[in-house]
Structures are given as structure tokens and as C-alpha cells.
């Protein structure tokens, strides 16, 4: 093994001192790149997995829309003329010959 002299050591230290800033810069760059890559990976994953949420939400929306349509149809069926007449008959309502239409009194000023 070669033993370095004091001069050689000093020489090496000087060289290191000049190279170190560049080395630090490169390390920072690498860390930044890794960080950016990590962030991109995170958001890419988010984008990809949000498709699952989107599908689930879409399915929920479609289900709600179908339920609303079903309920609207149910309301229409319950309000149909045939059903109203059937239920009215059960409650004792029916046709009548005697109908009197009540009108409000004529204004006093118009009386002869």
C-alpha cells in the first residue's frame, strides 16, 4: 500500500474542495429528480385510481336516476284516473245528478 505524503494529501484535499460544490449540486439535482419522479408517480397513480372512483360514482348516479324515474312512474300510476276513480268509489264518492254551482253575490252597485 502506498502511503501518501503530506503534500500529496494536501493536493488531494485541494482537488476535493474544488469538486465538492459540483458534487453537492449534482446530488441535489438527483434528489430533485427522484422527488419529481415520486410526485409524478403519485399523481399518475391518483389519476389511474380515480377512474375506479369515477366508475363507482357513475354507477351510483345511474342508480339514482333509475330510482327517480321509477318513483316518477309510480307517482303517475298512483295518480292515474282509473285508480283515483277506484279509490274514490271505495270511499263512497260517485256520480251525482244534482249539482249546484254556487256563485259569489253580485256587487251591490250592480244591483238594479
Amino acid at each position: 500500500m502506498k502511503i501518501l505524503s503530506r503534500d500529496d494529501l494536501n493536493e488531494k484535499r485541494k482537488r476535493l474542495a474544488t469538486v465538492l460544490p459540483y458534487f453537492k449540486f449534482i446530488c441535489l439535482l438527483v434528489i430533485l429528480l427522484i422527488g419529481l419522479f415520486g410526485v409524478k408517480l403519485y399523481f399518475t397513480n391518483l389519476l389511474a385510481t380515480s377512474g375506479v372512483q369515477l366508475t363507482a360514482t357513475t354507477v351510483k348516479i345511474e342508480k339514482h336516476e333509475a330510482d327517480i324515474a321509477k318513483l316518477e312512474n309510480e307517482i303517475s300510476k298512483l295518480g292515474s284516473m282509473k285508480r283515483i276513480q277506484k279509490e274514490a268509489k271505495k270511499l263512497g264518492f260517485g256520480d251525482t245528478e244534482k249539482v249546484q254551482i254556487l256563485k259569489s253575490q253580485d256587487p251591490v252597485a250592480q244591483k238594479p
Binding site: 389519476l47 389511474a48 380515480s50 377512474g51 375506479v52 369515477l54 366508475t55 333509475a66 324515474a69 321509477k70 316518477e72 312512474n73 303517475s76 300510476k77 295518480g79 292515474s80 284516473m81 282509473k82 276513480q85 256520480d95 245528478e97 249539482v99 254551482i101 256563485k103
Partner: protein
């Protein structure tokens, strides 16, 4: 020595590299387009987004036609055959599926309650055979087994846990009011391309507006088939069909259909029709025909059941046409209200003899008496005073002989002979409504001219069209002025007298102030009139001071055949129920 080995290896590597590059060139340049397309196909999906068909509402906003979820039942035959390879297995499965579908199939028959057990068994056997045939299809991967099944049936089939079966979402038309206004509304079937299409009525006339336009969504999918939210989504949104709000009064329609059905059965008529219009706007408040059909299961009925007889069936109007003759003659000043007709006996013209309906004659009749007695000889007298040219001019002005442009599919124009083909006999017979034909809507509209102070309004059914963004109101349209206001006023009084002093004056209720005219027209069969067949009708409006409605009741081949004994009493049955609804006092 060493050199040639080295050269050999170099050449070998060059050849291998060239082969590699060549192959890469082949896949990346020569096959570029097809591979890009295949890759797109694998990761992109185009979804057709169906447009929702527009709904139809009555004038008060109640739903007349909507949509309900339905499903297509299909079989993936590869998966199916893997699980149920043996023939017996397939037949057993087909039986289970047929049993699940049977209730809905029976429900779609014309008279499901009247089916016997053997008929039900026969339907079941047929369905089972059909499904077996489908499941045993060769060279097919996917077969539809049943279309537009309900959610209930879908749930039943799902519980069977049969492998290889699947469901696709569809929708189908839903009529919450059953057969109310069925011929007015029409139905939705399939066209030659297998696409949903409206037929008859509003579904047919407004098919394009109701259908909307489907949309497309092109998305990238991940390996699990979920969409990836990138900027690469493409496509177009669907345009849902427009919603229609009609002028139909649901309550009036219901009452009219009930009374009409009773009347057809009571008089043993072949069919019946009622039309009610708002004379001031032309809005159709009600249009009913019996027999009718159930649009929820239209497949069980015949094509003749779908036709709206009020606009598609032409008939000779008979004495109801006298209102056109008299109104035209008064307006043209060919006669006056106090003009007297000799009317001593039959009219002899061109070798023919024109008699009254009962062979009784009323000498020196006034115009009002001609209407009260429904005197054919008197009508002929007025027609002769008017003359062919003027008569034809007024017939056209009243909108007869042409379609009125109503927004319904299937409107007929009626038949009015061209001027050059009119003989002297035609003038006389046309005066009392024989030898020409009209539709029930046309006669109602013609009387509406008198109710509306001389103006002809275009009958219409849709008063509002609603899109996603806008509402379009359809305004009433005046076609033309036919009579002067004075003539209309005189005609109102004459027609009121015709009802209150007519042949059936003792049969009608008092105080309703209805003006109108009865009609009994013989039906032509094989070139001559059959005395046992007739179209009986009554056309009227009320209350005469401020008409709220104008209507016609028409029966085909009733017993008795006379309008005064069939159509007129039915008209007043309807009026008795509707006057309280409209708040009209009976005097």
C-alpha cells in the same frame, strides 16, 4: 488464423443486428398504423349513450307517456355451453328461463284474463322451444333471448343463477293511464333497422323530436376496465328527446272514454268516436274512439285498432252537414233567416226523387224549421239557392276536402268531388250531407267556426315543446275567417232552436243551452245505400252565449240508427258530467 474467427463473429453480429433492426423497422414502420389502431382498440372504448325519449304530458302536467327501465336478456353461448354441455342440461335451463318469462308473455296477450290453461301451456311450450333453438345456435357467440323485460322478471332470472346469462340496460315506453287516449298517443315499436320508432298519433307525428340523438363517449381504460381521467376523452353528449305538453284535459278524456264505451255497448254499435275542441283556440280537449287498445302491450292488437277513427275514418256526414249549407247560404245572402221554402213534396232532379228522411213534408218551412225537422227537401232548396260554385267555395273555406294540418299522424282529407264532376243531383244531395265524406274532426272544426264567431281555427294537440334549455309555446292559429260575425250569431240561434225544437226535444235535458245538429247518414255498400247501416252523429257546442267547447259524437251502425236517439243522448250525457267540471251553470 485468429483474424477469420474475429471477422466471422463480427459478420454474425452485423447480420443479427441487421435482422433485429429489420424486424423493428417492420413492426414500427410497416405495421405502425395497424398496431396503433389495435392498441387504441384495446385501451379505448366507445360507449354509445342512448338519448332518453321525450315524455308526453296532459294539459295539467300529468304524465301520459314516460319511460321505464327494461332489459335485454342475452346468453354468452361459449360460457353457457361450457357450463351446460349436455343437451339435457340446456333443455332444463331453457324450461327455467321460459317459466320466468311466462308471466310477462301472458300479460302481453290481448285478453290475458280470458286465456285457458291449455292456451297458456301452448304459449309456454312455444317459448321453451324458441329458447332451446337460440341456446343451441351454432357459430354464434352471443344471442338475445328476450327484449324489454321488466326489472321484476330480471330479478327472477338472476335468482336462477344460470351461468352465461347477462342483461343489457334498455328502456321502454310506459303509459301510466293505461289505454287512456291510446289512439291519440300512438306507441313505440321497431323500424326495419331494429331502432325504436313511434307509430300513429303523437309518437308517430313527433317521432324525430321525441327520439333525440344518441351521444358517444370515447375513453381510455385501464387493465381493469375503469376509465382513466386524461385529456383524451372525446365524443359528444346525447341530446335527449323533447317533452310534449298537450292540450288534452285528462279529466275530460277519462269521462268521455267512459261514456263512449257505455254508449257503444248500449247501442250495439260497431264503433264510436268523440272529439271535443276549444272553439276559440282549436285546442283538442279530448279525442276518444272505441274500441281502443292498450299501448303498454300494443303487440297483442291488430293494426286497425291503432287507427284514430276521429281523423282517419271518413264518412258521409248526413244532416249534420246542413249547418254548413245553411251557414253558407246565409253568409252569401242566398237566403235569409225568414226565407220560406215551399217544401210541398219530393224534389225531382235529373230523373231522381229526393225525399225527406221520414217521407213527411212541411210546406212553407222557414230556415229554422228546415233545421228543426232536418228537412232534406228544405236543405236541397237552400243548396239550389246557393248554387254549386258558391257552395263548393264555402265547403273549402270550412276546411272540408283538405287536411286541417293537425299534429297527428294519419289525418285524412275527406272526399269532396271536384267542381267539374258536380251534377245537379250532387248539389241537392250534398246539401244534406250525402255524396261527400268528411272526418269527425273536420265536422267538429266546421261547427267550431260558428261557435267562434265565424273564424276557423287550426285544431292542434301539442301546446308546448320542452327541450333541455328552452320551452317553445305553440300558439293557436287562425286559418281564415269563413263567416261574418253576424252570420255566426244568427247560426248560433238557429242551431239552438234546432236542438230545443228538434225531433228529439223531449229526450234532451233542459237548460244546457247547447246548439247543434243531429245526423243519420246511410252507409254506401257496393254502390248503393244499405238501409240497415248508418252513421249516427250529433255535433254541438255550448253554452251558446259563450261557447266553452264544440264536440261531436259519432256511432257507426248503432241500433236504432238515428242520431237523435243515439249520438244526441250520449252527447248530453257527456255534457251533464262536464258542465259542473267547467263551472257552467245549467239555466
Amino acid at each position: 488464423m485468429k483474424n477469420w474467427r474475429f471477422v466471422f463473429i463480427q459478420i454474425l453480429f452485423i447480420v443479427l443486428a441487421a435482422a433485429l433492426v429489420g424486424r423493428l423497422l417492420y413492426w414500427q414502420v410497416v405495421k405502425h398504423d395497424s398496431l396503433v389502431a389495435k392498441a387504441s382498440e384495446q385501451r379505448e372504448i366507445t360507449t354509445i349513450i342512448e338519448a332518453t325519449r321525450g315524455k308526453i304530458f296532459s294539459s295539467d302536467g300529468s304524465l301520459l307517456v314516460g319511460n321505464e327501465p327494461a332489459f335485454l336478456l342475452f346468453a354468452n353461448l361459449n360460457e353457457f355451453k361450457e357450463s351446460y354441455f349436455e343437451t339435457d342440461g340446456i333443455e332444463e335451463i331453457a324450461k327455467e328461463i321460459a317459466e320466468a318469462l311466462l308471466p310477462e308473455i301472458l300479460q302481453n296477450q290481448k285478453d290475458p284474463k280470458k286465456l285457458s290453461e291449455s292456451e297458456k301451456e301452448s304459449i309456454f311450450d312455444e317459448e321453451e322451444k324458441r329458447i332451446i333453438k337460440k341456446l343451441k345456435s351454432e357459430n354464434l357467440v352471443w344471442v338475445p333471448l328476450a327484449k324489454k323485460i321488466s326489472e321484476t322478471t330480471k330479478n327472477v332470472i338472476q335468482k336462477l343463477e344460470i351461468k352465461g346469462l347477462g342483461f343489457e340496460d334498455l328502456s321502454k315506453r310506459y303509459y301510466p293511464e293505461g289505454n287512456l287516449a291510446s289512439q291519440l298517443l300512438g306507441f313505440v315499436g321497431k323500424n326495419e333497422d331494429g331502432l325504436d320508432t313511434g307509430y300513429f298519433g303523437l309518437e308517430g307525428y313527433y317521432n324525430d323530436q321525441l327520439s333525440g340523438k344518441p351521444g358517444r363517449l370515447i375513453q381510455e381504460l385501464d387493465a381493469s376496465g375503469n376509465p382513466i381521467l386524461t385529456n383524451d376523452q372525446d365524443g359528444s353528449f346525447p341530446t335527449d328527446g323533447f317533452d310534449l305538453t298537450t292540450t288534452i284535459d285528462r279529466n275530460v278524456q277519462y269521462v268521455v272514454e267512459e261514456v263512449l264505451e257505455e254508449g257503444v255497448k248500449k247501442y250495439g254499435a260497431k264503433s264510436g268516436s268523440v272529439v271535443i275542441l276549444d272553439p276559440k283556440t282549436g285546442g283538442i280537449l279530448s279525442m276518444a274512439n272505441y274500441p281502443s287498445y292498450e299501448p303498454n302491450r300494443w303487440q297483442a292488437f291488430e293494426e286497425e285498432d291503432f287507427q284514430n277513427q276521429s281523423i282517419s275514418q271518413v264518412y258521409e256526414p248526413g244532416s249534420t252537414f246542413k249547418l254548413v249549407t245553411v251557414a253558407s247560404a246565409l253568409d252569401a245572402q242566398a237566403v235569409k233567416p225568414d226565407t220560406i221554402c215551399p217544401c210541398k213534396g219530393p224534389i225531382k232532379v235529373s230523373g231522381y226523387e229526393i225525399q225527406t228522411w221520414n217521407n213527411k213534408y212541411n210546406p212553407n218551412s222557414s230556415v229554422v224549421e228546415i233545421l228543426q225537422h232536418s228537412d232534406n227537401v228544405g236543405a236541397g232548396f237552400i243548396g239550389e239557392k246557393l248554387g254549386k260554385d258558391k257552395f263548393l267555395e264555402y265547403i273549402n273555406k270550412f276546411g272540408l276536402g283538405n287536411t286541417l294540418g293537425t299534429d297527428l299522424q294519419g289525418e285524412e282529407a275527406g272526399i269532396i268531388k271536384e267542381r267539374r264532376n258536380w251534377s245537379d243531383v250532387d248539389l241537392i244531395t250534398a246539401s244534406f250531407g250525402q255524396g261527400l265524406s268528411v272526418t269527425a274532426l273536420q265536422m267538429t272544426s266546421a261547427l267550431g267556426v260558428i261557435a267562434n264567431d265565424g273564424k276557423l281555427m287550426k285544431p292542434y294537440l301539442v301546446k308546448k315543446i320542452t327541450t333541455n334549455d328552452t320551452e317553445i309555446e305553440i300558439k293557436p292559429e287562425e286559418i281564415r275567417r269563413v263567416l261574418s260575425t253576424d252570420t255566426a250569431k244568427v247560426m248560433k240561434e238557429l242551431l239552438l232552436s234546432a236542438v230545443e225544437g228538434g225531433e228529439a226535444k223531449n229526450l234532451i235535458p233542459k237548460g244546457y243551452r247547447v246548439a247543434g245538429k243531429t245526423g243519420t247518414a246511410q252507409v254506401a255498400v257496393a254502390g248503393s245505400y244499405d238501409p240497415s247501416k248508418a252513421v249516427a252523429s250529433f255535433v254541438g257546442f255550448g253554452p251558446v252565449e259563450n261557447p266553452k267547447f264544440v264536440a261531436i259524437v259519432k256511432y257507426v251502425n248503432p241500433t236504432p240508427i238515428y242520431g237523435a236517439e243515439t249520438a244526441e243522448p250520449t252527447f248530453f250525457e257527456i255534457v251533464k258530467k262536464l258542465y259542473p267540471y267547467w263551472g257552467i251553470t245549467v239555466k
